[in-house]
């Protein structure tokens, strides 16, 4: 009989390889955050460790211990408390890597795994996404496998292991990991959910949002940022309705747009109602995006500014979720808007006035004026580069550069309309978004930032988009979807608790109340029950157990110390004994030859059992 064995040497290599993998898993989570030097060092030390391992040369442990202590001191050399975390993680990374250099007994391996786990844990301080779950699973499987292997070798004192056994160990490791995951899922309920780092150490660039003041050319920085601003769960609607309103600007001083603090108007709005849920990523500003034109946001601590802007009273430090209602195809009727929608900057260039007059020379109606302005602006180039500047950037845009981004288009149009006596304003927000059919949501990125114009014509506010840009790239559907699910499941759990956390900085106020204890207890109970049920199902499915159950009906019970044949000797009458013997023979043949109980085999055994059972009935 030929058995494949893995020798001692190969096992050592195997363990070492797994350990390197385990070390690399947390490293993959942090390498973008820590300094390049440390990353390079980590990789180099790992490579050296592989080399040394192959050459069977080990750095003495005493030397490694001294080095580790030095690394521990290293973060304390940075006096600034904000910078404390990152150096600590870097030090941990280095300690982990040099651990790989030494001679590795069971103790050293355990140290490596512990350090790796610590590092993975600390990586969540920097960044936490759904990939964390993947890393955790891999880490669990590998660590458990390796510990099982070490324990197996130590307990059996054997120097080799058959591949079959190794695969079995892998199975066990996987099983343990999978079973322990529901338990570890509990941590998500117990720990505060943090899609944003627990401690903001300024590594994650805060996402730029719309502020109540926008300098011309300021939106570009947002447009160049491709990070996700929000996801909106709603049905798919026509692309032309996809204007996400954030803030309405009414005052322009020649260089920047501003929002009047307490402008209040009560328009009469009608249209097609639509409900949706927004998952807003953390941002630096408190204005909440809504689909144009918003009716209401259902979230505590949000106040309405004017009719169309919503502002959170708390800093948005985490992903938040809110429901909202809007009108698409809105009709916004207002009797007479305030006169400041006609205000022009004080030192306003006459050249623009002349140009406007020229464009709208033969316009009789307001509609005609709008049409002429739009057609004139369509001659201009849309560009994010080489933006107009100077004291009067609008003039620069219209007469010199003749190219710019939405800000210039929208500003120019709004000013021209005001010159012609049409009340107008500029709205900041996002346009478009890609729809994810799997998740049923729109994904809006910072690069979708946009400015457009609203003009009061015929007693209604109407939307005009002079830049008319629609530029969308394809999104990686699956990964975004997983990300979305992670966010909505992990974050959805208790929004109010999150808001409480957001409001009160002291995290101790989150009560680890009875509910949590109950949840843990119930979860443990459920896991325990599932275990029991699985074991029970396996048991009653096992043909041998069934066999003993049937024989018990006949009045024959097997003692633990009895072999199957010994048990058989007690059985009578002969007819039953013969049938029982057939079963035992078939079972033995598989069991004592260490063969697998295949489906066919179990089927055969079942048939034999049925025969024994028939004896019972007759």
């Amino acid at each position: 009989m030929h058995l494949a064995y893995i020798t001692q040497n190969k096992i050592e290599n195997f363990l070492f390889f797994i350990s390197i993998l385990i070390a690399i898993i947390p490293f993959s989570a942090i390498y973008s955050s820590i300094s390049t030097l440390i990353s390079l060092l980590f990789i180099t030390i790992n490579l050296i460790a592989v080399l040394l391992h192959l050459k069977k040369f080990y750095v003495p442990n005493s030397f490694l211990n001294v080095a580790s202590i030095l690394f521990i001191i290293y973060p304390f050399l940075n006096f600034s408390p904000e910078d404390f975390l990152l150096p600590s993680i870097e030090a941990l990374t280095l300690i982990l890597s040099i651990r790989l250099l030494g001679k590795k007994t069971q103790r050293e391996y355990l140290q490596i795994y512990l350090l790796s786990l610590l590092l993975l844990g600390s990586s969540t301080l920097l960044n936490m996404s759904w990939i964390f779950l993947l890393r955790l699973i891999f880490m669990l499987v590998f660590t458990i496998l390796s510990i099982l292997l070490i324990t197996y070798l130590r307990e059996t004192k054997s120097e080799f292991i058959s591949i079959k056994k190794l695969l079995n160990l892998l199975k066990v490791a996987f099983f343990i990991s999978v079973v322990s995951l529901p338990l570890s899922a509990l941590f998500f309920f117990i720990l505060p959910r943090t899609p944003k780092p627990l401690i903001d150490i300024g590594i994650n660039k805060g996402k730029s949002g719309f502020t109540s003041v926008v300098n011309l050319g300021g939106i570009v920085s947002i447009e160049e940022d491709s990070s996700i601003v929000m996801r909106v769960k709603m049905k798919k609607i026509d692309e032309n309705h996809l204007y996400w309103r954030v803030i309405t600007f009414d005052r322009f001083d020649g260089r920047k747009w501003e929002k009047s603090p307490n402008e209040d108007y009560k328009p009469d709005i009608s249209g097609e109602r639509i409900n949706y849920t927004v998952y807003l990523e953390p941002s630096t500003e408190n204005y909440l995006p809504t689909l144009d034109f918003p009716i209401n946001i259902y979230l505590k601590g949000v106040s309405q500014e004017g009719t169309d802007n919503f502002k959170a009273d708390f800093p948005i430090e985490k992903t938040i979720k809110y429901m909202a209602t809007s009108f698409i195809n809105p009709v916004i009727k207002q009797s007479k808007p305030s006169s400041h929608y006609l205000n022009l900057p004080t030192n306003f260039s006459n050249k623009i006035k002349e140009l406007t007059d020229k464009i709208t020379e033969n316009s009789s109606s307001k509609e005609q004026i709008v049409k002429n302005i739009l057609s004139h602006l369509s001659n201009y180039q849309y560009s994010l580069k080489n933006l107009p500047s100077g004291i009067n950037p609008v003039e620069d845009f219209l007469f010199n550069k003749k190219s710019g981004n939405c800000e210039y288009f929208a500003t120019s149009m709004a000013l021209m309309l005001r010159i012609k006596g049409i009340p107008s304003r500029v709205v900041g927000g996002f346009k478009g978004g890609s729809y994810n059919d799997y998740g049923g949501y729109y994904l809006i990125r910072a690069s979708d930032a946009h400015l457009w114009v609203e003009a009061w014509i015929d007693g209604k506010w109407q939307r005009f988009d002079p830049s008319g840009r629609i530029g969308r790239y394809s999104e990686s559907v699956v990964f975004n979807f997983i990300d979305y699910i992670w966010n909505s499941i992990v974050l959805d759990y208790d929004v109010m608790a999150q808001l409480r956390l957001a409001k009160s900085i002291s995290p101790t106020k989150i009560k680890f109340n009875k509910n949590v204890t109950w949840i843990i207890l119930v979860a443990i109970l459920i896991v325990f029950l599932i275990f029991k049920v699985i074991r029970y199902l396996r048991k009653i499915k096992n043909p041998l157990i069934q066999f003993f159950a049937i024989m018990k009906k006949y009045g024959f019970e097997r003692k633990k110390s009895e072999g199957l044949r010994e048990f058989l000797n007690k059985v009578e009458p002969l007819e039953l004994k013969v049938k029982a013997e057939k079963f035992i023979q078939a079972y033995e043949k598989t069991y004592f030859k260490d063969k697998e109980f295949t489906r066919e085999k179990i089927k055969e055994l079942r048939n034999l059992l049925r025969e024994i059972n028939e004896n019972n009935k007759s």
């Binding site: 009989m1 110390s561 009895e562 072999g563 044949r565 079972y587 033995e588 004592f592 030859k593």
Partner: protein, 309 residues
């Protein structure tokens, strides 16, 4: 034991021998197991119960050469191994092989030999070779020793220590024949003459082939674990002074494999081992005090070990 044997060849041998050795079926099966598992057999019994008949019958039917050593206290090692004698005609020393240079060797009343002779014999059994005057002679294959000892007449004997007994794979006793069997013997008279005329059913090569086949029988880890549980239980039991050695464990596996082969199976079950335990274990353990018989202690230990599956 005999009714479960299904291997045609073995069954042939047994049923053939049964005619000449009335009421000794178990002894026949056990000796065959000992032969085919490459072990040696110790028979502890009273004189006149047919030990010699059994051995001769085995040697005849298996077509093996037979040697006999009758042990006495003045028996010398060279009486067993043979010695070199000066030949006047050739002027050279000539090796005269002793009775041990045979396939089957009956060592009668081994406990009457002096320890020196005993150890020379056991040495030869273990090494399967003898060294005389610096020259080494290989013992013929297959090589099988059946030793007997008388449990009653202990005066002037040198009982084998347990460590030496360990070298015998099995210890059995033939016992008195059943009433009918004994009556039959008395009626027909001794069958010794007929036994010498037995026709062989097997030859050396075939025996060696079967021996090797038996070693290939599959022994599951489950059974091995159970055996180890049993070995450990004898070692930790407080009624037992000396527990079972690893060699005893090996003896269990080898003989169980042979029994499984006899039963026409290519795997070992715990029952195979269990059946043989009484013959393999009792001469290898020493009880702390004479609580009870060794058999009872072993049985009570087995009662407490759960058998797979």
């Amino acid at each position: 034991m005999i009714e479960e044997i299904k291997n045609a060849k073995i069954l042939d041998i047994i049923s053939y021998l049964k005619n000449y050795l009335q009421g000794k079926e178990n002894a026949i099966v056990l000796s065959l197991i000992a032969i085919f598992s490459k072990g040696h057999l110790l028979i502890e019994d009273f004189p006149g119960l047919g030990k010699t008949s059994l051995v001769i019958a085995l040697s005849k039917i298996l077509n093996l050469s037979f040697g006999r050593i009758q042990c006495t206290s003045d028996l010398l090692p060279t009486d067993i191994t043979g010695l070199s004698i000066y030949n006047k005609n050739t002027g050279e020393f000539e090796f005269k092989p002793g009775p041990i240079i045979n396939n089957i060797v009956l060592v009668d009343e081994i406990n009457r030999a002096t320890p020196k002779t005993q150890s020379a014999l056991l040495e030869a059994m273990a090494e399967e070779q003898v060294t005389i005057d610096g020259r080494t002679y290989k013992l013929p294959q297959p090589f099988f020793v059946i030793a007997t000892q008388n449990p009653i007449e202990t005066f002037g004997t040198f009982p084998l220590p347990e460590s030496q007994l360990d070298r015998f794979i099995m210890k059995i006793s033939i016992g008195y024949p059943q009433r009918e069997a004994e009556a039959d013997i008395l009626k027909k008279g001794s069958s010794r003459e007929k036994i010498h005329q037995l026709t062989p059913l097997m030859d050396k090569d075939e025996i060696i082939k079967i021996q090797n086949e038996i070693r290939e029988i599959y022994l599951s880890d489950k059974v091995i674990n159970w055996i180890i549980d049993f070995l450990n239980a004898t070692r930790s039991d407080n009624r037992i002074l000396l527990g079972l050695s690893t060699r005893a464990g090996l003896a269990l596996t080898y003989t169980a494999k042979a029994l499984a082969y006899f039963k026409n199976r290519d795997y070992v079950t715990p029952e195979d081992v269990k059946e043989l335990i009484p013959f393999i274990v009792t001469h290898r353990i020493i009880l702390r005090e004479d609580f009870s018989s060794k058999e009872e202690v072993i049985l009570s230990i087995l009662e407490n070990i759960s058998v797979p599956p």
